[in-house]
Symmetry: D2
Subunit: 362 residues, 4 copies
């Protein structure tokens, strides 16, 4: 019977695989069981963020020394750039082992790599469908039947660079957008609608090229997408609860309606055994294995009726502002800064808000 | 008997005096009674932030139309740049009117402009002493005798530019630092130690040129200093409680030990009548007239033992990171984003933390 | 008979009108004769650049003390943000005096303020037509009949902010673009096509909403447009040669085909009396009263077949990169850094290149 | 008899080793002969620039596939971050082959890796001496006896991070500076004084901890130092002319007195066979194999008496400004953008200027 194990490891830099190596040496992690590694890396989280690719290369090299390059390549590396504010760079390692753990339902994990996405499909229906299919496959792998049991779907999706745009146009096709930073948002948006379709949150018939990146009334409560220059396909990781899995780890989720809407997260923490009026106390914190959240600047330029300046700032991308701010709001709630807040929440939760998953050890 | 009134006005840009104008026209503010205006303006909050000077010029022009340029110049304009995250640009207008309000002790306000600070005194004992003297004078003006009744001292202090350094060196003197961004920190630090000396938090004998900007075990729990290129002297505003004042407004303060240490602020809110387990509810929020806080990246590079990257980021100043993050933590507590978080907390609260004042209408 | 005089004044900050004041006091400038002031101010040159508005407010306040606020408001203030690299912040004051100068043709100046541009017209034909009409009016004012005698048309045009977009959408109209930084490019582009239409460089029939910001084969060799948050109308200044004007000052122009194409500028300098094989020598430099240029990152991501990274950089806007780089190329040619290089050259010169004007004292 | 070969390869990203791989496959490069690879990578060139480490890891992995990891580790990888303006990311591969080339003197190459530098020695005499010794060893390797025959010494040196500082202080020692960005400048400065000592440009007795980073009247005309987080030792590459080497490649150098002082570079180009009044023509350009230069913002805040804003800009590091600007000035001279301009020229050329090497194929 599968058991999910989740390990949070500090990273001293994008290429720091020493924590992973130490955990393998100590027998705490079986490298052959690793399904996915989520990373918060300290780049700008935007187009020219090489910390993500550097991390992926470094972690896969480290794993390859133990399990060979082919199996190391099967792991889903989901690197999310940007540790603004006091967010602490770290890796979250998702491992599947066999054994008899505490009876479930417990955390269940499925992961899929898609084929490469042609540049002209990015931000369009082709991407939605490719991701939806991958989510369904990952659910099967995780032994999750009911979409209601899915609590988070993490996607790593590609973006357009000037070069990729040029190659596409040389082939005679058009791309959805020529602005490379904007392409990150479209890619996240289309991927998230793919999740929403797979989970039954949005009917497939409601999605068209026109609504992607525009009609934000369509969203998933459980999608989290992160774009990066370091891949041209998708990595899809489904996290949920399944009675076919056992062990100490469980998961729940919440949706923040805006950047400081922390009360739904407080409620989710209470549901999985960590109730707190104020900030989580040190003992509770030690049970919080991972907090995964999405953040974005509300597109109407306001938060609860008061103007913010994130979208008019030409020095700092709004995604960087939003990550710092939401990481502060959630840090104030849970009392620690080693959490995973990813920027750009197009079609991921309501405009200006976003989904949050909490993973705890019971 | 004096009554302190405090008005929070949204600003659509650094030069937006329309809210002030409207309040004057509506009779809500008596321009002749304005003692100080604190502003959060949307520049970078660092050396080349012209939003602060633009705001000061625009607000004083607006006031001059009502009370003449001379009296408009007597107002303390304390512009703090940087509205990172969803912090909302706004003005907080402090007004003194005469009348019979709700019996005190109530909010009491004193304000002093110092003489210009020579460039060579910046970040040194000369600045400490000039500020300490000004704080004492402002306390007398506010009719506050016991330093314990002072809950916040807001300082606007100068910085060094390349030009000012050159002029000083041409006069044959040396400056404390030649890095202009660093000069902001030293100026904030020396000003804050001036507050600490005046309030009896640090003995004068413990302060020397050597400890300024270095020995952060010396700090004030109530100082808040903000440096700017737009002035060469200090503006000093003392906020406290005095039985000689009346009215609905009161104040208290807390000290955050680190960037997510929000529980002391929750306690201060409770002490002034706004108790809340989770986030303040909408009715409570409407009583919170102002929240004034300091933020900084902890100088040891860690928050609760976990690494942050703010001090190694060469793209975004650590003060910008810290403002966004702390504004998020406090926004999560109070449920709104129109708060005043100022960056750079040298000798203002413990390293990595900072003082917070809450001003509420009873 | 009119004489054009051009004064270049160093600025120690966006609000530094002391050089202007000193020149007026010394009788070198007649404040009543000032037609326009071009400024390079030290903001980011993008959406949230308040150095431009601060400069306009400060210079117009200084002039108002001499000629009253109404006549001060008639001056065209064209503030271009961004002094990247070693570009030196300065004001270029264009003055018209009456007298008998050296027989012309000499520099002739015309200037027009348009009405406010509705947000929905920005980046569309409405803006093209409004600007074209203004250029024709300014030519008449300058006594220039032949469009060939126009050597530079400087436009200051508005941009969209989140607030302006919201107001337009509340009126039920759509805007050309919702990205505020992008709106600067569209506004510059439409303005420049307005110049091209007025000067006969592009037929009116070739311009439609679709080509603006897209078909860069349409361009003006003499347009220079700079967008700013500080105005909602256009300022249009036509610079050319006219036999109806006299005096020592003349003008010519060149078009750079790319960011390092300095040889056409060298040729233009030679035509107006400053021939040089290498860098201008100190005596020649003293005759160069102004150099006005446009710069942009080539939209295909390459310079002479070699990749540049300006369009994939999410930390620094490509306009900032391009200004620094082109200012270096032109600084290497003319031997000084107090030149006016403005970013964003949509429809201003060929893609990746831009127009350059040289104004010299004979 | 050794022949130096130099290859310039475009890079599509920090991890793009495809050009190197293709050249090896085509037989154009013998991987066993590679002594050093200089790279311009597209990070910020400051503390948190991971593009340098990513490039080093990627290139060494590619080489290891051909010559094994041990010999791949012997290559000097000198990655200089920052391709501001239109500078084009690329690798310059220095190769030593045996054969009978065109009789020398020709380009001669020596390279040395030092031991790791303790954090407390950085920016102090210990670093000066370690580098001076390495330069002498590299000269011997290159068969260059007379220091006058050395035309460029490229150093890659370490920097301090918050973590390294903490480790040093935990050992009870102090570091020269606690500001990580500043540590880059001190490291470059001490390394460059090491070159100056080795080449006899500055007497060893004139150097002390106090002058490093302060007395910029001491400088080398041929040192180029680049700091990076990706190493803790030094890579030292000496480039000069030696009669013991043969082949088509030669080298000369110039010193720019300020950021737009391009005439000395024009003279150096003429000395090695590329005379040009204006910009190099396409045929000449094809002979220019590499141009290596240093750039910095002049520390007095002026260029030829006119103020620049690079040192007061808190949004963009002055090194980024200076690289863009100087790359523009040199690009205007040589007519191409694939050149190597490295930022931070402490003790490398006079204040505000810097050394430039030109490597040409005869």
């Amino acid at each position: 019977m599968p058991i999910a194990r989740v390990h949070r490891l500090a990273a001293s830099g994008p290429d720091d695989a020493s924590g992973l190596e130490a955990a393998i040496q100590a027998g705490a992690i079986d490298p052959g069981g690793i399904l996915a590694i989520f990373g918060k890396t300290e780049g700008n989280g935007c187009v020219n963020d090489f910390s993500r690719g550097f991390a992926t290369q470094s972690l896969s090299l480290a794993l390859a020394r133990h399990i060979g390059p082919e199996r190391a390549a099967e792991v889903c590396y989901v690197m999310s750039g940007g540790t603004e504010g006091a967010m602490s760079p770290h890796w979250t390692v998702f491992e599947r082992v066999e054994g008899d753990g505490l009876a479930g339902p417990a955390l269940a994990i499925g992961r899929v790599h898609t084929a490469a996405l042609p540049a002209e499909a990015l931000g369009r229906l082709g991407q939605v469908d490719q991701v939806a299919e991958a989510v369904r496959a990952a659910m099967r792998q995780a032994a999750i039947e009911d979409p209601e049991d899915v609590h988070f779907v993490q996607i790593k999706c590609p973006l357009l660079t000037n070069r990729r745009i040029g190659e596409a146009e040389a082939r005679g096709v058009t791309v959805a957008v020529r602005d490379t930073l904007k392409s990150m948002g479209l890619s996240r948006g289309a991927s998230s609608l793919g999740v929403a379709v797979a989970l039954g949150e949005v009917p497939r018939s409601a999605v068209s090229d026109v609504v992607i990146g525009r009609d934000f009334s369509l969203w998933s409560a459980r999608a989290s997408a992160s774009a990066g220059v370091e891949l041209s396909h998708h990595e899809v990781v489904v996290l949920g609860r399944s009675a076919a899995w056992s062990g100490l780890i469980t998961i729940d989720h919440a949706v923040m309606a805006d950047a400081i809407d922390i009360e739904p997260v407080r409620a989710a923490l209470a549901r999985v055994g960590l109730p707190a009026d104020g900030q989580l106390d040190p003992r509770q914190r030690s049970h919080l294995v991972a907090l995964l959240a999405k953040a974005e600047a509300s597109p109407d330029g306001e938060l609860r009726g008061e103007r913010h300046t994130m979208l008019d700032d030409s020095d700092i991308s709004s995604t960087r502002h939003a990550r710092a701010y939401v990481a502060g709001a959630l840090g104030g709630l849970v009392g620690r800064s080693m959490i995973y807040v990813s920027g750009g929440a197009e079609h991921q939760g309501p405009p200006g808000g976003g989904p949050v998953a909490v993973i705890v050890e019971r």
